[in-house]
C-alpha cells in the first residue's frame, strides 16, 4: 500500500511544484538566517520585543475584526468583497466629525466613555449602511454571474466609495482627537503596555466574542452558517436566503465599523484611502486562517499582525536590509502569496477553499 501511494505521489509532482518548493525553501532559509543573525547580534532587548509583540497584537486584532467580514461574505457568496476596506473606512471617517465636535465642546474630556460609545455607534451605523446598500445595489443583481463579473463589480464599487468619500469629506488626513484618559501606559506583571493598545485589544476580544456567539448560538447565526454551506438546500429548508445574506453584510459592516474606530484611535488619523491596504491585509488574514472559517479569520488576523510587527526587526534586519520597516507591507503581501500557493485552505483548513482554489 505504501509503495503504491508513494508512486502515485511521485507521479503527481510536476516541475512547477519543484520550482515552488525551491522558492519556498529559499525563503524559509532566509527567514531563519535573518532571525538567528538578529538574535545573535542582540540589537533589540527583551523590552523591544515585548513592545513589538503588543503592537502586533493590537494591530492584529483590528485585522481580525475586518477579516471576519471578508470571511463571512466569502462563506455565503463565494466572492471577495473587495469593497470591504471602504466599509471599514466609512464608519470612522464619518464618526470623526462627531468626535471632533465633541472634542471642541469638551464633552469628550468630561464624559470620555459616553463619547466613545457615541463614536462607536455612529461609525458602526454608517459602515453597516454602506455594507447593506453595497450588497443590495452592486452584488444582488449579479448573483448568478460568472466569477469574474462580481469581482470586477466589487473593484469598481471599492473605488467608487473611496472617491465618493473623498469628494464628500475632502482629501486631507483628519486627525482624530486625543482621548486623555487613554494616554500613558500601565504596567502589568512588569510589562509596560500603552493604555490605548490594551483598550484596542480588549475591545477587539469582546467584539470577536460577541460575533462568535452570534454565529454559533443564535438562530440567525445558524441560518447564516446554513446558507454558507448550501444555498439551495437552505432555501428549501425555509431560510430567507436574501435576508440572511443581507444580515451577513450587516454583521460584517458592524465589525468593520468598530475596527475602524479602533484603528483611528491607534493611528490617530483617518483619510479616504485608509481602507485599501488594511483591506488587503485583512483578506490575507482571512485566507491565512481559512476562508469561510470565522475563528480562523480571527486567528489569522492576530497572526498576521504579529508577523508584520515583529518580522522586519526579526529577520529583515538580520539580513542586512537598511530601513526594514519600509518593507513591512511587503512581508504581509508575501505571506498572502505564500499561503495562497502552499496552503490555500489556511491554518484551520476549510473545505470551502479547497473546492475553489
Amino acid at each position: 500500500m505504501e509503495g503504491i501511494m508513494f508512486q502515485r505521489w511521485k507521479e503527481s509532482i510536476t516541475p512547477t511544484d519543484i520550482v515552488m518548493w525551491l522558492i519556498g525553501g529559499t525563503l524559509l532559509l532566509m527567514v531563519i538566517w535573518g532571525s538567528v543573525a538578529t538574535l545573535v547580534a542582540g540589537k533589540y532587548t527583551g523590552r523591544h520585543w515585548i513592545d513589538f509583540v503588543i503592537f502586533g497584537l493590537a494591530q492584529g486584532s483590528i485585522y481580525a475584526l475586518i477579516a471576519t467580514g471578508y470571511t463571512m461574505v466569502y462563506g455565503v457568496l463565494r466572492m471577495i468583497n473587495f469593497a470591504h476596506g471602504e466599509v471599514f473606512m466609512s464608519g470612522p471617517y464619518t464618526a470623526y466629525f462627531v468626535a471632533a465636535a465633541m472634542y471642541r465642546s469638551d464633552f469628550l474630556d468630561k464624559h470620555p466613555f459616553t463619547a466613545l460609545f457615541v463614536i462607536f455607534v455612529v461609525a458602526m451605523a454608517i459602515s453597516t449602511m454602506i455594507a447593506y446598500f453595497l450588497e443590495k445595489i452592486a452584488y444582488r443583481p449579479l448573483r448568478g454571474a460568472p466569477r469574474l463579473i462580481p469581482l470586477i463589480t466589487a473593484i469598481g464599487a471599492s473605488f467608487f466609495l473611496q472617491y465618493m468619500f473623498r469628494g464628500l469629506y475632502g482629501s486631507g488626513f483628519q486627525a482624530y482627537p486625543v482621548i486623555k484618559i487613554f494616554e500613558g501606559a500601565w504596567v502589568i506583571f512588569g510589562i509596560r503596555i500603552l493604555k490605548f493598545q490594551l483598550v484596542v485589544i480588549v475591545a477587539a476580544i469582546l467584539l470577536m466574542a460577541a460575533l462568535y456567539s452570534f454565529i454559533m448560538l443564535t438562530r440567525a447565526g445558524k441560518a447564516i452558517r446554513a446558507v454558507s454551506e448550501d444555498k439551495e438546500a437552505s432555501s428549501l429548508m425555509g431560510i430567507n436566503v436574501d435576508g440572511m445574506i443581507s444580515t451577513t453584510f450587516i454583521i460584517g459592516g458592524m465589525a468593520a465599523g468598530a475596527a475602524g474606530v479602533l484603528y483611528a484611535l491607534m493611528f490617530k488619523q483617518v483619510h479616504f484611502f485608509m481602507g485599501f491596504i488594511p483591506g488587503i491585509k485583512a483578506f490575507t488574514a482571512a485566507v491565512l486562517g481559512g476562508i469561510g472559517n470565522i475563528p480562523g479569520a480571527m486567528l489569522g488576523g492576530i497572526f498576521l499582525g504579529l508577523i508584520e510587527s515583529v518580522g522586519p526587526s526579526l529577520f529583515l534586519d538580520g539580513l542586512g536590509i537598511p530601513a526594514p520597516y519600509q518593507l513591512k507591507d511587503a512581508i504581509a503581501f508575501t505571506m498572502l502569496v505564500l499561503v495562497l500557493i502552499f496552503r490555500p485552505m489556511g491554518i484551520m483548513g476549510e473545505r470551502l477553499a479547497a473546492k475553489k482554489a
Binding site: A138, G156, A157, Y163, P322, A323, F333, V337
Partner: protein, 562 residues
C-alpha cells in the same frame, strides 16, 4: 386603494433613488467643477446640463418602469420622479442655508446653492429648483410618448450638441488650424462654449442626417450588399487607407497639447492590449499588471541612464532587454499563481504588484534603482539622427508600437494558442480534458502580456526621461482594467475605444480629472450589471455571457462572423 398606490409608486421610488444620486453628485463637487465650463456660452454650463440630464433620465426611467405608452400613468410617474429628485436638491438648499453643512461636507457651499437656485435667494430659489425638476419630468414624459424614431432623433441631436460643447478643446483647435474650414470654428464657438446659433445648427444638422439615414439607410445598406465582392473589398481597402493617412497626419493636425494627450492614450492602448490578452483572451484577472510596466521602465533606466551609472546603452539597445526581462518576470510571477482561479488569482497578482512597488521604492534597493527619488537623465530614442523628443515625434514611436502589438494580438487571436486561451477562459477543466496544456497556455498568456507591458514601460521611460516609483501604483492597473472592461474584454477595437474614453476624456476635461476614479468605479459597476460584454464587444465573449439567456429561450441565434 392598491390601484392608486401603485399609480405613483414607481415615480416616487425612482425619484428617491435619483434624488440620492443627484445629491451625491452635487455634494462630491462634480456639479460645481463642471459649472466652470460653458456648453453654450453665457447660456448654460456643463454642470447645469449634468443635472438636467439626470433629471430627465430619472423621469424617463420612472415612466418606463410604470408601463407602456398606452396610458397616462407613465407620464405622471415621470413628472413625479423628476419632481421628487428636484425636491431632494431643494431640501439640500433649505437645510444648507440654515445650518453650516460645510464643516462636514466640504462641497456644501453657498456657491453650490447659488448654482442650484440660479442665483435667486429665499423662497424663489426653492421654487425654481422644484419647477426645473417638474420641467425635466414633463420633457421625459414627452420623450416617452413620442414615436421611437422621433425620440431617437431628439436625443441624438441634443447629445451631439452637448458633446460638441464638452469636447470643444478638441474640436476647436483642429477646425481653427485648417484654413478653409476655420470660419466654421468662428460660427460654432465663442469664448467658453458654443454660440447659440452654433448649437442650434448642430442640433438641426444631426437631426436632418439622422432622419435621412432612417429613411434612406436601408437602401444604402442593401446597395452596398449588392455590390460585387471586388467592389466591396475595394471600398474596405480605401477606407483602411484613409484611416492610415489620418493616423499618420494626426499629430500635425492636432497640435502640441493634443498630441501629448494622444501619446498618453497610445501608451494606455499598448498596456490595455497586453492586459487584454491576460484578462480578455485567457480570462485571468491580473491586478498586478503595473509590475511589468515598472520592470520595463526600470530596466530601461538602469541600462541607459548615466545617473545610475551602470551602463550607457541607447534606447534601442536597451529595448530588447526590457522586453525579455518583462517576459521573464511574467513567467516568474505566473508560476506561483498557476493553480489559482478567479478571486485568489486577482488578489495574489495584486500582492505581487504591490511587492514590486514597495521594492522599487525602498532604501534597500536604492543603490541600484534610485529609491524614492527615482532615476533621471534617460536618453530619448533616436533613429539615424532623428530624435524622438516632441510629443508629435513620440506619437510615431508609440503608433509603431501599437501597430505591432495590434498585429500580434490579431494573429494570436486566430491562432491555436488564442483558441486555447479562450477555451481556458470559458472552462478550465473542460479545456484540460480536451488536451490543452494549462501550464504552458497560462504562462504564455502571462508572458505575452508582460512583454507588451514592458515595451510600453520602456517607451514611457524614454518619453518621460526619468522613472519615479510613485508612477507605478495599483491605480494604474485598475485604470487599465477599467478600460478593457468598459471597451469590451477580448476585443481589440474595444480596448482602443476604452482608452480613448477613459484616458483621453479626463485629459481633455480637466474638471473631470478629479472625479476620474469615482466615475470609473461607477462605470464598472454599471457596465457589469447592464452590459458586461463592454461597449464594443467581442462576439464570442458576448455569447458566453449571455449563454444562460440563450439556453432558456431555445435555439441559440446563429452567430455572425467576427
Amino acid at each position: 386603494m392598491t390601484q392608486t398606490r401603485s399609480l405613483w409608486e414607481h415615480g416616487v421610488k425612482t425619484g428617491i433613488i435619483g434624488g440620492v444620486a443627484v445629491l451625491v453628485i452635487a455634494l462630491v463637487g462634480m456639479v460645481e467643477s463642471f459649472h466652470r465650463r460653458d456648453i453654450i456660452a453665457e447660456v448654460i454650463t456643463m454642470g447645469q446640463v449634468l443635472l438636467l440630464i439626470g433629471g430627465v433620465f430619472i423621469g424617463y426611467i420612472a415612466a418606463k418602469r410604470t408601463g407602456s405608452d398606452e396610458s397616462l400613468a407613465p407620464g405622471l410617474n415621470a413628472v413625479i420622479g423628476s419632481s421628487v429628485t428636484g425636491g431632494f436638491l431643494a431640501f439640500l438648499v433649505i437645510v444648507g442655508r440654515l445650518i453650516n453643512l460645510r464643516a462636514v461636507l466640504v462641497n456644501a457651499s453657498p456657491m453650490l446653492y447659488k448654482l442650484l437656485t440660479l442665483g435667486h435667494k429665499g423662497v424663489a430659489g426653492i421654487f425654481i429648483i422644484l419647477l426645473i425638476g417638474m420641467g425635466c419630468g414633463v420633457f421625459a414624459a414627452a420623450l416617452f410618448y413620442l414615436p421611437r424614431l422621433t425620440r431617437r432623433v431628439i436625443i441624438l441631436s441634443l447629445s451631439s450638441m452637448i458633446i460638441a460643447g464638452v469636447l470643444q478643446d478638441l474640436i476647436r483647435p483642429v477646425i481653427a488650424a485648417w484654413g478653409p474650414v476655420a470660419v466654421v470654428s468662428e460660427w460654432l464657438f465663442t469664448g467658453n462654449g458654443l454660440t447659440v446659433s452654433g448649437s442650434i445648427s448642430i442640433v438641426i444638422l444631426i437631426a436632418v442626417v439622422m432622419t435621412a439615414w432612417a429613411l434612406k439607410g436601408q437602401d444604402i445598406k442593401s446597395g452596398y450588399g449588392n455590390l460585387s465582392g471586388g467592389s466591396q473589398r475595394g471600398i474596405k481597402i480605401s477606407a483602411f487607407f484613409m484611416l492610415a493617412v489620418v493616423l499618420l497626419a494626426l499629430p500635425h493636425i492636432l497640435g502640441l497639447f493634443l498630441s501629448e494627450v494622444l501619446t498618453i492614450v497610445g501608451l494606455y492602448v499598448l498596456l490595455g492590449l497586453g492586459l487584454n490578452i491576460v484578462v480578455g483572451y485567457a480570462g485571468m484577472l491580473d491586478l498586478g499588471y503595473v509590475a511589468f510596466f515598472a520592470i520595463g521602465s526600470y530596466v530601461t533606466a538602469v541600462l541607459t541612464s548615466p545617473e545610475l551609472g551602470f551602463f550607457s546603452l541607447t534606447f534601442w539597445q536597451a529595448l530588447p532587454f526590457a522586453v525579455v526581462l518583462g517576459i521573464f518576470f511574467g513567467v516568474l510571477l505566473g508560476i506561483p499563481v498557476l493553480k489559482m482561479r478567479g478571486d485568489y488569482l486577482a488578489i495574489a497578482t495584486l500582492g505581487f504588484g504591490e511587492i514590486i512597488r514597495i521594492l522599487v521604492l525602498s532604501d534597500f534597493l536604492r543603490p541600484w534603482l534610485g529609491g524614492a527619488q527615482g532615476a533621471g537623465k534617460i536618453p530619448k530614442a533616436a533613429i539615424m539622427g532623428y530624435q524622438f523628443i516632441t510629443p508629435q515625434q513620440i506619437y510615431y514611436l508609440i503608433l509603431a508600437g501599437c501597430i505591432l502589438v495590434v498585429f500580434i494580438s490579431l494573429r494570436l487571436k486566430g491562432s491555436r494558442l488564442g483558441r486555447a486561451w479562450m477555451a481556458m477562459r470559458e472552462d478550465e477543466d473542460v479545456a484540460q480534458a480536451m488536451g490543452i496544456n494549462l501550464v504552458a497556455t497560462k504562462l504564455l498568456a502571462f508572458a505575452t502580456g508582460a512583454g507588451f507591458s514592458a515595451l510600453s514601460g520602456a517607451i514611457f521611460a524614454s518619453k518621460l526621461g526619468s522613472v519615479y516609483p510613485h508612477s507605478f501604483n495599483v491605480i494604474i492597473s485598475i485604470n487599465i482594467l477599467c478600460l478593457i472592461i468598459v471597451g469590451g474584454m477580448g476585443s481589440i477595437p474595444g480596448v482602443i475605444v476604452g482608452a480613448a474614453a477613459l484616458v483621453g476624456l479626463p485629459e481633455l476635461l480637466r474638471e473631470f480629472a478629479e472625479y476620474r476614479l469615482l466615475v470609473y468605479g461607477a462605470a464598472l459597476v454599471a457596465m457589469m450589471i447592464l452590459r458586461p460584454e463592454g461597449l464594443w464587444p467581442e462576439v464570442r465573449h458576448k455569447m458566453e455571457l449571455h449563454a444562460e439567456e440563450e439556453n432558456n429561450i431555445g435555439e441559440p441565434e446563429p452567430s455572425t462572423a467576427t
